[in-house]
């Protein structure tokens, strides 16, 4: 699909035209309405109070994410946004798929290493169980249900019954305890406060 996108859609389209469209999309009312502002607000509060670095890792457009965040007033919240870029070529614009979904484990490790942090003391919010399993503080995305298959929904539904917040002492504890569950934005706020105040794992 990405090859078709580059060859069929972006070919001979100038980079500035594409970037203008990305900005329109990122700043549109429809897109802004999709952003979970309370999660950003609680993260900003916790980050200001406790001082940890925060980052986004995405296989989508880095520019789109940064513009959407800027429009929402959170342009400086994330210390780093790792995503994919559009670039100019003699044949027009191309979407450079440098960050691929299947390589996310490697990129996650590199990103955390760039901050001088460790997996054991990193909180990750995601819906992929294999990625959540490698960090010390896995937080299940509130959107996990929407993009999961039936088997995963069933598994997450089972874990979701365990409402008490538990703390992984080491990544392997994930197998036994599962991730932190975010039911709503206040849950997220409570989870961040608890994690930030915990002794180092």
């Amino acid at each position: 699909m990405y090859r078709a996108f580059n060859e069929g859609v972006l070919r001979y389209v100038p980079l500035d035209v594409v970037e203008r469209r990305v900005r329109e999309y990122a700043e549109s009312e429809e897109t802004q309405a999709e952003i979970n502002e309370p999660l950003l607000r609680h993260l900003a509060d916790a980050k200001k109070k406790h001082g940890f670095p925060a980052a986004i890792l995405s296989a989508s457009s880095r520019l789109g994410i940064e513009l959407a965040l800027q429009k929402m007033g959170y342009g400086k919240l994330f210390d780093k946004v790792v995503g994919n870029d559009f670039r100019e070529t003699p044949q027009g614009c191309r979407f450079d798929l440098r960050i691929r979904e299947r390589d996310r484990t490697r990129h996650l490790g590199k990103l955390i290493g760039d901050f001088g942090a460790k997996l054991e003391t990193t909180a990750l919010m995601d819906s992929r169980q294999d990625l959540l399993a490698i960090v010390g503080y896995p937080i299940l995305s509130p959107y996990a249900y929407a993009d999961s298959d039936e088997r995963m929904r069933s598994e997450l539904g089972r874990q979701r019954d365990h409402r008490e917040l538990v703390f992984a002492e080491e990544p392997s504890d994930y197998e036994r305890r599962g991730p932190f569950i975010v039911g709503d934005s206040l849950d997220f706020q409570a989870i961040l406060e608890e994690l930030a105040g915990e002794p180092s794992a």
């Binding site: 980052a55 995405s58 994410i65």
Partner: protein
């Protein structure tokens, strides 16, 4: 304590509700043509 926080953007802070239904209802050729028209509409 947390030493770093990382989020998967597409699944966490923003949702993309249109992508999959769109793909399932129209063919790739139609989608590409529609995207190109949208991109170069000026």
């Amino acid at each position: 304590m947390i030493s770093s926080f990382v989020s998967n953007w597409s699944g966490t802070l923003i949702s993309y509700p249109t992508e999959k239904p769109l793909m399932s209802h129209i063919g790739e050729g139609e989608l590409i043509a529609a995207l190109r028209r949208a991109l170069t509409r000026d």
